[in-house]
């Protein structure tokens, strides 16, 4: 290419871009990263501003809060058992994750690695569940889970005000996505590794838990995070399935909605409670994301 072709400002930019593609690439990376973090953080900042702005000073709020009222955080924790709600949420989410990953792994393995007739239709059937708004399940499910339905004369167990009353609906709602994610990841693990495990003497299920799941760590962790977060912030079923007291497994959102009064909402308290409620998720994600760093398939197999 001759020099003249690149004249003028655009030309120079083009030329610079070509010659310093690495720099441009890095610039793009940083611009992208910073803007994503800004996009993400801005609403959080807004939430923080809402939290520290005293209840009655919302009108014509500035970008920077004029009056700081850090005390809300203390109020929220001290006067309301927010930690109890959070604990309930974490526990319910954890149980759901365990149930979903366990059941989902079996199905994910079958769908991803075993050939059996009717696989496609069954997968579609699974997907269909998620087509329905949660409320479409509500009436029959409520009867079923609160002992109002009797099957062959015996009433179903009453799970109202127990964690299971929430775990079951959440499991039902989360299983489709869990299975789809796990199926995808499990199917990508090379056969060779499963073969090796089986020759070493595991059953196929043994190979699933010893080799395929650990190797699909990014997928499993992602599915777990998705289920966890989905449950942690869910409200519809948690609202219906408990009476709202923390002793009866009321969840985080209950704690937050405590600050909603008949005609008014204490935005600052709600914001503060939400911010506190996010902490466990942040911790979880910090820990869990390590497993999404790099797949482990590299170096294991020659193919």
């Amino acid at each position: 290419m001759s020099e003249q072709e690149y004249s003028g400002l655009t030309g120079r930019i083009v030329q610079y871009t070509i010659q310093n593609s690495a720099d441009v690439y890095r610039l793009g990376f940083w611009v992208g990263l910073v803007s994503f973090i800004m996009i993400t953080l801005f609403p959080f900042y807004w939430l923080l501003v809402l939290a520290v702005t005293p209840d009655n000073q919302l009108y014509q709020m500035g970008v920077v809060p004029e009056n700081f009222n850090i005390g809300v955080f203390a109020t929220v924790v001290q006067e309301y058992p927010l930690h109890h709600y959070i604990f309930n949420s974490i526990l319910i989410a954890t149980i759901t994750v365990i149930v979903c990953i366990t059941l989902g792994s079996l199905a994910g393995y079958a769908f991803g690695r075993v050939d059996f007739p009717g696989k496609g239709p069954l997968l579609v059937l699974l997907l269909i569940i998620s087509y329905f708004p949660g409320i479409a399940f509500l009436i029959p499910l409520f009867e079923l889970l609160t002992g109002s339905l009797s099957i062959l004369g015996t009433p179903t167990p009453d799970l109202y005000n127990t964690p299971w009353g929430m775990v079951f609906p959440f499991t039902m709602l989360s299983l489709p996505i869990t299975i789809f994610i796990l199926t995808t990841f499990y199917s990508q693990i090379p056969d060779g590794l499963e073969d090796a495990a089986r020759v070493e003497g595991t059953t196929r299920l043994g190979a699933l838990f010893r080799v395929i799941m650990p190797l699909s760590a990014p997928g499993v962790v992602t599915a777990a995070i998705i289920v966890f977060i989905g449950v942690y912030r869910e409200f519809f079923f948690s609202f219906i399935m408990t009476d709202g007291s923390p002793e009866n497994w009321a969840v985080l959102v209950y704690g937050i909605l405590n600050f909603q009064q008949q005609h008014t909402q204490m935005y600052n308290m709600m914001a503060a409670a939400s911010l506190i409620g996010i902490i466990p998720i942040a911790v979880l994600v910090i820990i869990a994301q390590e497993h999404i760093v790099r797949g482990l398939t590299a170096g294991g197999l020659k193919e």
């Binding site: 090796a196 020759v199 043994g206 650990p214 170096g299």
Partner: protein, 383 residues
């Protein structure tokens, strides 16, 4: 322990037949090597034995038990995979001890066995590494160690030494053999290395295109190949083969002929034959007195000389009526010939092989005493 028995095994993939009509019995404690061109079905055969693949038809027995549809874990086999297949999420130690840990061996026993295996494959001090921190050869050795700690009934090894250098390869070969003999483990071994096949095996099974060609002790394969395929495949550099036909008491090849009495053979006048001579059975005419039954001398020109250390390969050309035939001969590096020389060579008639020109099946392995062989070969060809 146990013999392995493949009966009429056939494995088809969508449009490829990988293994066809495989009948093979491996005696208890025997060491059989599978060899054959790339893609001929060696790995597939191992997979059917291991249970990783169910044959399309046919049965597989181990120790007299039909295991055709049994999962691998019920077969007590250990396998070294061609693609190595280490568990990337485990350390070397965990990889090697995987099979033992599955079986609830106590920790001491596991450690002892792992240590032993690691010593054999010379990987001391690497137990804590993860597979991706190992070189290709080291990974392969971990794969071997993982199999040998197990002391199974049957060893299946798919090119376990492919990535190792000659010295290590010899060492490992010896160790594997020692272990195999000591524990009496029936073994099926795939290799592309002739020397390995020749030195390690009780018998060599030569496969082509999914079909078993011959399964005999190494030297028999070398000296008495059942057909041209085996003749060419076994031995490196491979046997020279020439097409010719029966011409009275001679076999005529384009530019030379060898004397041959067809009386005890099914050959008729003008029948097409393939004549095979190994490079080391060609001698300079000057050395003709060294051999018992030299052929008539043939005049050739030396095309290329390729020294390979202890030997030199001489690529010879013989020309008649414009037709050129190539011959490969191996000579002592200190013989005084150079490229372009015209020289005279003779064949050892004791070692000239004759094959049916149409089917490629062996007719005799010596021009001097042909009778007995043919029968024998015929029998073996059906075995």
């Amino acid at each position: 322990m146990g013999e392995v028995n493949l009966t009429d095994v056939r494995k088809e993939y969508e449009d490829v037949v990988a293994v066809e009509g495989m009948n093979l019995t491996i005696e208890d404690g025997e060491f059989v090597t599978l060899v054959g061109p790339s893609g001929c079905g060696k790995s597939t055969t191992l997979e059917t034995i291991s249970g990783l693949t169910t044959p399309t038809s046919g049965t597989i027995e181990i120790a007299g038990r039909d295991v055709t549809n049994k999962p691998p874990k019920d077969r007590n086999i250990a396998m070294v995979f061609q693609n190595i297949a280490l568990f990337p999420h485990m350390t070397v130690y965990e990889n090697i001890s995987f099979g033992l840990r599955l079986r609830d061996f106590d920790q001491e026993e596991i450690d002892r066995r792992v240590e032993e295996a690691v010593e054999i494959v010379q990987l001391e001090g690497m137990l804590d590494r993860s597979p991706d921190e190992l070189s290709g050869g080291q990974q392969q050795r971990v794969g071997i160690a993982r199999a040998i700690v197990r002391e199974p009934d049957v060893f299946l090894m798919d090119e376990p030494l492919a990535n190792l250098d000659a010295k290590l390869r010899v060492a490992m070969r010896t160790e594997i053999q020692r272990l195999q003999k000591e524990l009496g483990i029936t073994s099926v071994y795939v290799t592309h290395d002739q020397e390995e096949a020749m030195t390690m095996s009780d018998r060599i099974a030569i496969i082509n295109d999914g079909e078993l060609q011959q399964c005999s002790p190494p030297l028999e394969c070398y000296n008495r190949p059942v057909n041209t395929f085996v003749a060419q495949f076994i031995g490196s550099p491979s046997m020279n083969l020439f097409n010719g036909q029966v011409d009275g008491d001679d076999l005529d090849v384009s530019d030379f002929s060898v004397e041959f009495d067809t009386t005890n053979t099914p050959l008729q006048q003008d029948d097409p034959v393939t004549v095979g001579i190994r490079p080391e059975d060609i001698y300079l005419a000057a050395d003709a007195e060294d051999i018992a039954h030299p052929s008539r001398p043939v005049t050739v020109t030396v095309d290329v000389l390729e020294p390979v250390g202890d030997q030199t390969y001489a690529y010879l050309l013989s020309e008649t009526d414009g037709e050129t035939t190539e011959l490969l001969m191996s000579v002592d590096p200190d013989k005084d010939i150079s490229e372009g020389d015209a020289i005279e060579v003779v064949f050892s008639r004791d070692d000239v092989h004759v094959f049916d020109g149409r089917t490629g099946d062996a007719i005799t392995h010596s021009l001097v005493d042909a009778t007995a062989v043919v029968e024998e070969v015929a029998v073996e060809g059906e075995a």
